[in-house]
């Protein structure tokens, strides 16, 4: 039995990969984000926290890009290149963990609301709609400002304000899955709530979760940088805090375009990569979308 299941899963994965490979933009996005993640992971082998320290800036202040400092230096002579590299660790970490938190909440709420259709489901959807209406950036700013800025707080603030879209998506999918005959068969054979939701619903919504997680990481990275720019952030160097620094030190008026351009381009590249990969996943997993576009 398990052998059959394994073979079928393997076939499904290989078919999925064949479909995904046809989405050229998605593959490009996947490559870029893999490169970004690997670079962030290996950063400690080459550089350390020291590159972000104000006192250890080795170069001249406000130096334009040169051979020694390919992306120039900032107001205290730190290399923008190394800071962007080191900062990618915080940006990506917060992006991934916030998206994970958001997806987990969304998944639990979505599946529960779709499975228990009585007052539990109705109440959960009310709560979801309520969170959906709240302006998420403003709410996240309030939460982060009150809880004090730490990496954990920022992750919580982003996760808590962004889960409702996932919850709605997953609920709709749960409803669709649960109306199929094999769920009824399973229930007739004595399956309980736990069995139905974890063994039948979850595997069916998992691909969608993956696609929406990918898009969620993209928006979490943007939100993190926005929060950092607006002054509520963990005190670690991220792309957002670098841009905040560039604004505080008057980089626009100093004409230090590299200080603004490079961290922003890093955000843009990574976010675009996640977006393209996520949209490609969606297109492969959702045949209706595939037909439309």
């Amino acid at each position: 039995m398990t052998g059959v299941v394994m073979a079928r899963r393997r076939l499904a994965v290989s078919r999925f990969w064949a479909d995904f490979r046809k989405q050229r933009a998605g593959v490009a996005g996947l490559v870029v984000l893999l490169v970004a993640v690997v670079l962030a992971l290996v950063a400690p082998l080459f550089i350390g926290e020291g590159v972000t320290s104000v006192v250890s800036g080795t170069g001249p202040k406000w130096a334009a890009p040169s051979l020694d400092y390919p992306f120039g230096t900032d107001e205290s002579g730190r290399s923008i290149l190394l800071m962007v590299w080191w900062g990618s660790r915080t940006s990506l970490l917060i992006g991934f963990l916030a998206a994970l938190l958001s997806i987990v909440i969304g998944m639990v709420v979505g599946i529960t609301a779709g499975h228990f259709r009585g007052w539990i489901g109705a109440t959960l959807m009310r709560v979801t709609d309520w969170f959906l209406v709240l302006p998420s950036l403003v709410t996240a700013m309030v939460l982060a400002a009150i809880l004090g800025g730490s990496t954990f707080t920022i992750i919580a603030a982003i996760g808590v304000t962004t889960w409702p879209t996932t919850a709605r998506l997953i609920r709709a999918q749960t409803l669709a899955v649960e109306s199929r005959p094999y769920i009824e068969r399973s229930k007739a054979l004595g399956a309980g709530h736990w069995h139905v939701t974890t063994r039948h619903v979850l595997p069916n919504v998992a691909p969608l979760l993956l696609a929406s997680a990918t898009l969620e990481v993209a928006s979490a990275i943007v939100t993190e940088s926005t929060l950092a720019f607006l002054g509520v952030s963990s005190n670690k160097t991220s792309w957002g805090t670098m841009l905040r620094g560039s604004y505080d030190w008057g980089a626009p008026t100093q004409g230090a375009w590299w200080y603004i351009l490079i961290p922003g381009l890093a955000i843009l590249a990574v976010v675009m990569a996640f977006m393209l990969a996520g949209r490609a996943l969606e297109a492969v997993l959702n045949p209706r979308l595939r037909r439309a576009s």
Binding site: L134, V138, T139, V142, L147, G148, G264, I267, M275, L276
Partner: protein
């Protein structure tokens, strides 16, 4: 439905006049239930705000004292002023009563009532966000219609590509770039536009004053539009794509109507409604954009006031502005919902 004289939705049209009274009564019931829901949401926001601002870790007074020299007596005085020395229940009822009376407290930083501060800042925000929204909606819908109608064309690929890029760009970064290029000037390009505040210090009178404010508004408005319009474009495009494959479009074409007429009189009216609702449903997104844009360009609006409150931090001011922003977003959402229900028979019959 005058824009759809024939093919579209014949069933609903035929049933229309006969159901006149029950449907309008249903309409009223729908509006009332939506209003009830909105009131409930607002009540939840007020309660939620109270607990978030009081129960979460971090003593507001100690946070306030951070980086300032304050004696324990001063801290106690501050606690008393904020009513923090009373029991939680008393605090809660005081808070609800004050909020209902629109007494949002006194700002710590400005030493003035929060409501007055909000009143001063409301105008500039409405001016900026309103102008930005109108431009973003018209531009986004227009481009979305044309991209969706000729999907796969070069214009479509260009539009979708740009909007994906704009969607991925953090608002504040785009603002910084625009500020540097058009405000400060870079290389041979001189700075063309003002990028601080909403008017010059020696602002002229009369028509020249209007021009002055307009000049100050160009960059913030451009930033807001660029970030917001992308999603309108994408929503409009996909909404139109859903309509393009419908039977009534084929019928309209078969009748020999010109392509432009099929688009303008048949496809667009049907695709427009869900899009317009989505536009207003996502008004919270515009609010977030406005906070960021106002901060960068020091536009003296509500968003900047909220930003100041967060960065001081001035908790009374933060609470007041947060309440106002959230409640207005809820109200606008509800309005959009009711209006949508009123003008689109398809939702009503569903």
């Amino acid at each position: 439905m005058t824009a759809l004289p024939d093919a579209a939705e014949p069933a609903v049209q035929a049933a229309g006049p006969a159901e006149e009274t029950p449907s309008s009564r249903g309409m009223l019931r729908y509006a009332l239930s939506k209003a009830g829901g909105a009131l409930f949401s607002i009540a939840m926001v007020v309660i939620g705000t109270f607990f978030v601002f009081r129960l979460l870790p971090g003593d507001p007074v100690r946070n306030l004292a951070q980086g300032r020299n304050m004696t324990p007596e001063q801290l106690d005085l501050e606690r008393h002023r904020l009513g923090l020395d009373q029991s939680l229940i008393n605090q809660f009822f005081d808070f609800v009563g004050d909020t209902l009376r629109l007494d949002l407290g006194t700002s710590y930083e400005y030493k003035r009532p929060v409501l007055d501060l909000i009143g001063e800042r409301l105008g500039p925000t409405l001016l900026l966000a309103g102008t930005g929204l109108v431009i973003a909606v018209s531009l986004g819908l227009w481009q979305g219609i044309h991209a969706g109608w000729r999907h796969g064309s070069r214009f479509d690929r260009f539009s979708t590509g740009t909007s994906l890029v704009l969607w991925s760009v953090p608002t504040f970064w785009l603002g910084l770039l625009l500020m540097m290029v058009f405000g400060v000037g870079i290389g041979p390009i001189p700075g063309l536009l003002p990028f601080r505040g909403s008017e010059s210090i020696d602002a002229p009178d009369g028509f020249a004053y209007v021009l002055d404010v307009a000049a100050h508004m160009v960059l913030p408005c451009l930033t807001l539009v660029a970030v917001v319009y992308a999603q309108y474009l994408l929503v409009m495009r996909s909404s139109l794509l859903e309509e393009v494959s419908q039977d009534y479009i084929t019928v309209a074409r078969a009748k020999g109507l010109r392509d432009d007429d099929v688009r303008r009189r048949h496809a667009v009216p049907n695709a427009l409604l869900p899009t317009v609702t989505l536009v207003f449903m996502r008004i919270g997104f515009v609010v977030g954009g406005a906070v960021t844009v106002e901060t960068i360009f020091t536009w003296p609006g509500l968003g900047q006031l909220f930003y100041e409150a967060v960065s001081v931090p001035d908790f009374t001011l933060m609470q007041g502005t947060f309440l106002l922003i959230t409640v207005s977003v809820i109200v606008m959402n509800t309005l959009a919902d009711v209006v949508y229900h009123m003008i689109d028979p398809r939702v009503r019959s569903a």
